[in-house]
């Protein structure tokens, strides 16, 4: 392995020295990816392999790293160690990098590539900033409530459609000695999922969007209503008591053991439930129930995307890769492998996976799609907000203090 590597380098040196020095190597492509979870990693690697097969003249170097670490390392990568293609999040989260001119404008690709210009209309707005497109999404997924169907059957309750039904389900579960919800808030963001849904169901997409865009204060009466619902939920649908010391993966164990019955989560978690020993018959999915009657139903649907750093060296190859990622074939295969949804409207979904089928149905009938609190709000706001959510979950009486502090941060950040 080492020998081959060195040989390649020597060959490159020889090839280079015969060229005029200073010319870039025409057939390189460097990609930085950010998911080490086995299934995600494999799907990425096989996509790269397929790309190399389609473009044998391009030598691809693929780097993969930890997702949480990537959130910090990308800053340096974009400024100093720019690869040709890099993963990041659309929506507001790409804002700082777009504004600093660190991402490349790829509007030309969106308009020239027939597939991109016709099959991505639903998601195009989230990839757009200042009227230009900056990236290409490879996957997205639904959020909702995952629950233990076997426990529901045993207790004799069914999927709730409304808030009251959810609350009475919780009563029944508690009666049977089951904690209604599991969650692990050590890394904060899981609590934001609950908040987003409560806010989307209480106030709707517009208000939620205005809040994360900094147009509405946290002390607004409408946001207070959301927290009132949350308090009701904490009261009657209690969460596992040790959630502040658990990660989202840790929180699966009471769920798998049958001590907790529901989990507000994203669809990426299904693989982990199965790894914990649960089967398709034991778990199922329902949309977060309606709170304010008649409100158009909006959903969380975070997307993951590829971007081209402004400092990329092999821009043409990078664009080829992005076009390849957007293609119907790639989107179908990739998302089948990771159990998520393809943003390409023409791509096929895995009809055998009930979560994917339900997710597709949930998202395609939604009136609006939110990206997730920590992507819709700027990072500094998101951090403070999520700390506030965690604090509220542990101590609802501190609400006023929390909201006032969030207003302060909001005034500073935007």
């Amino acid at each position: 392995m080492l020998n081959r590597f060195n040989l390649r380098k020597i060959a490159q040196c020889v090839a280079l020295s015969s060229l005029v020095s200073g010319t870039a190597v025409a057939s390189e492509l460097v990609i930085t990816f950010d998911d080490l979870n086995p299934d995600k990693k494999l799907a990425f690697e096989s996509a790269v392999e397929a790309f190399t097969r389609a473009h044998p003249d391009i030598t691809v170097t693929a780097n993969n790293g930890d997702r949480e670490a990537h959130k910090s390392t990308i800053r340096n990568a974009l400024q100093n160690d720019a690869p040709d293609v890099i993963t990041w999040y659309p929506g507001n989260r790409m804002g700082p990098f777009v504004d600093a001119g660190l991402f490349m404008d790829i509007s030309d690709l969106w308009s020239s590539d027939e597939n991109l210009s016709s099959n991505f209309n639903a998601i195009k707005p989230t990839m757009t900033r200042d009227g230009k497109q900056w990236g290409v999404p490879y996957s997205y997924y639904q959020w909702g409530v995952y629950y233990r169907k076997d426990i529901y059957d045993k207790v004799g309750i069914s999927e709730p459609k409304t808030w009251d039904e959810l609350l009475s389900n919780c009563d029944a579960l508690k009666e049977a000695g089951v904690t209604p919800f599991t969650i692990g808030t050590k890394f904060l963001w899981t609590a934001a999922g609950v908040f987003d849904y409560l806010n989307l169901r209480t106030n709707g997409y517009e208000v939620h969007n205005d809040l994360t865009a900094g147009k509405i204060k946290y002390t607004d009466e409408r946001i207070r209503n959301t927290f009132a619902k949350w308090e009701e939920m904490l009261d009657r649908c209690s969460f596992v008591s040790t959630h502040a010391t658990m990660s989202w993966q840790d929180a699966i164990s009471p769920f798998a053991n049958g001590d907790a019955a529901m989990y507000v989560m994203g669809n990426f978690s299904v693989g982990q439930y199965k790894e914990a020993g649960l089967t398709d018959d034991q778990i199922d999915f329902f949309q977060f129930p309606e709170i304010t009657p008649g409100l158009p139903r909006a959903e969380e649907a975070p997307a993951d995307a590829f971007f081209i750093p402004a400092k990329a060296k092999n821009v043409e190859n990078a664009k080829k890769f992005l076009a390849f990622v957007a293609s119907v074939g790639t989107q179908t295969a990739w998302n089948k492998a990771i159990g998520q949804l393809p943003p390409n409207a023409k791509a096929l979904i895995n009809e055998d996976d009930k979560f994917i089928v339900k997710g597709m149905e949930t998202l395609s009938t939604a009136s609006g799609l939110a990206q997730f609190y920590d992507r819709d709000a700027p990072a500094a706001m998101a951090k403070a907000g999520m700390e506030g959510f965690q604090k509220f979950m542990l101590d609802p009486s501190a609400l006023d203090e929390i909201l006032e502090n969030l207003d302060k941060v909001q005034a500073e950040v935007y």
């Binding site: 380098k9 910090s72 600093a100 053991n257 001590d259 990072a379 500094a380 951090k383 604090k391």
Partner: protein, 396 residues
């Protein structure tokens, strides 16, 4: 007489050849370092696919050139007549040059740079042309600090650390007194008691995170002996039901900081213990005997005879404990990341979190926090230097 003066004159003359050759080499090296060698050059030369891979070779090429440059600079300076005449005055600067230069560049100058950052609003990004994207905002960040509850939490926790961490000093003394015997195997006991200090704080943090875990940690295990029983749940799986829930030490804002400090005390006590053991070794037996003649025993002996002699050890123990308390970062990063909801933040961790954590990127605000921490530390540093200065004066 005349001859020797002539000889001296010759000995102290500037040697033109030495100065020219060394000067030219020095110039050439500096030119190479500044204008020629760069990672992109090395990348092209060796055909690395990514710039990052060219970094390390570039560094070593630069290092080689820099070593030549340093050699040339030394040779350059020693060729001049002013050096030859005044060797004793110039020599210390030559010995100091490298170490002091590096220390200035990496430690002293950055302190002032950080302070200047604290007057800006900057997210740490340069734009594509390398232009700074921040703006000057005067004392804005400091005004924000005064209105930030997280800042006060961090400050309060820093104070808690300072106060409780001090327990390491008396407890360390107590253990040292306990171990200051000559029974067989006592040396092994001493080493084993010192053990926790040698282990990385990250590992200590992990050990205690596990110990505190309310589901399956050391403490919850003790707990379940008294309050819990194992039952079958609705799905027929075994689950633990407790009459009183086990405490979630790191999950509760009121106990989390104490939990981390307790973990931090473990290695710190070991450190103080070893300081006192060494100090006790040097307590003069004469004075103890004199004390015994005066009828001093036990506590009185400790307080009036032994402790005064342990003053140097106590001084060092207090200094390292204060510095350790204010520097506490690794433990918090491994055990709670400042959570739950920022309640275990200390200034050191809060600064890191605001500046680079999760891409928050408030460089200006972070620098303001760092500056406050620095000023607090400066009080102790000044005190330490003052003590050292007194010692130096005495020595003269």
């Amino acid at each position: 007489m005349e001859n020797s003066q002539l000889g001296n004159h010759y000995r102290f003359a500037t040697s033109a050849k030495q100065v020219t050759v060394a000067g030219l080499i020095l110039l050439a090296c500096l030119f190479l370092l500044y204008f020629v060698i760069s990672t992109s050059m090395v990348q092209d030369l060796f055909g690395y696919s990514q710039q990052i891979h060219a970094r390390v070779p570039t560094f070593f090429i630069r290092l080689a050139v820099a070593i030549v440059a340093i050699g040339a600079a030394l040779y350059f300076i020693t060729g001049f007549s002013f050096y030859k005449r005044n060797k004793i005055a110039w020599a210390p600067w030559l010995f100091l040059a490298l170490g002091l230069g590096l220390f200035m560049v990496y430690v002293i100058i950055p302190i002032f740079q950080s302070m200047s950052y604290s007057f800006t609003k900057w997210d740490g990004l340069y734009d594509i042309n390398g232009v700074w994207t921040g703006e000057w905002v005067g004392f804005h960040n400091y005004k924000l600090l005064l209105d930030d509850p997280n800042f006060y939490t961090s400050l309060k926790n820093n104070l808690l650390w300072l106060v409780l961490y001090m327990l390491a000093v008396p407890v360390g003394l107590f253990i040292a007194l306990f171990l200051n015997q000559t029974v067989t195997g006592i040396r092994i006991y001493k080493s084993l008691f010192f053990f926790p200090f040698v282990i990385s704080q990250v590992v200590v943090g992990l050990i205690f995170t596990w110990a505190y875990n309310p589901e399956f940690g050391l403490l919850s295990e003790f707990w379940s002996w008294f309050f819990c029983e194992t039952k079958e749940n609705i799905m027929g799986n075994l689950t633990r039901v407790c009459s009183v829930e086990p405490p979630s030490i790191l999950g509760n804002e009121h106990s989390a900081t104490y939990g981390i400090i307790a973990a931090g005390l473990w290695p710190q006590i070991a450190y103080c213990m070893i300081l006192y053991l060494t100090g006790l070794n040097n307590v003069s037996p004469d004075q103890i005997e004199a004390g015994q003649l005066d009828g001093a025993k036990g506590w009185k002996m400790l307080w009036y005879v032994v402790l005064p002699q342990l003053k140097p050890a106590t001084f060092i123990a207090v200094v390292v404990t204060v510095i350790g308390a204010l520097r506490s970062f690794d433990m918090i990063a491994t055990m709670t990341q400042g959570g739950p909801y920022g309640s275990t933040n200390v200034l050191a961790y809060y600064m890191y979190d605001q500046a680079v954590g999760e891409g928050v990127g408030r460089y200006g605000y972070g620098s303001a926090i760092a500056t406050v921490l620095f000023l607090i530390m400066l009080v102790y540093i000044s005190y330490f230097l003052w003590q050292m200065y007194q010692d130096e004066k005495e020595a003269h």
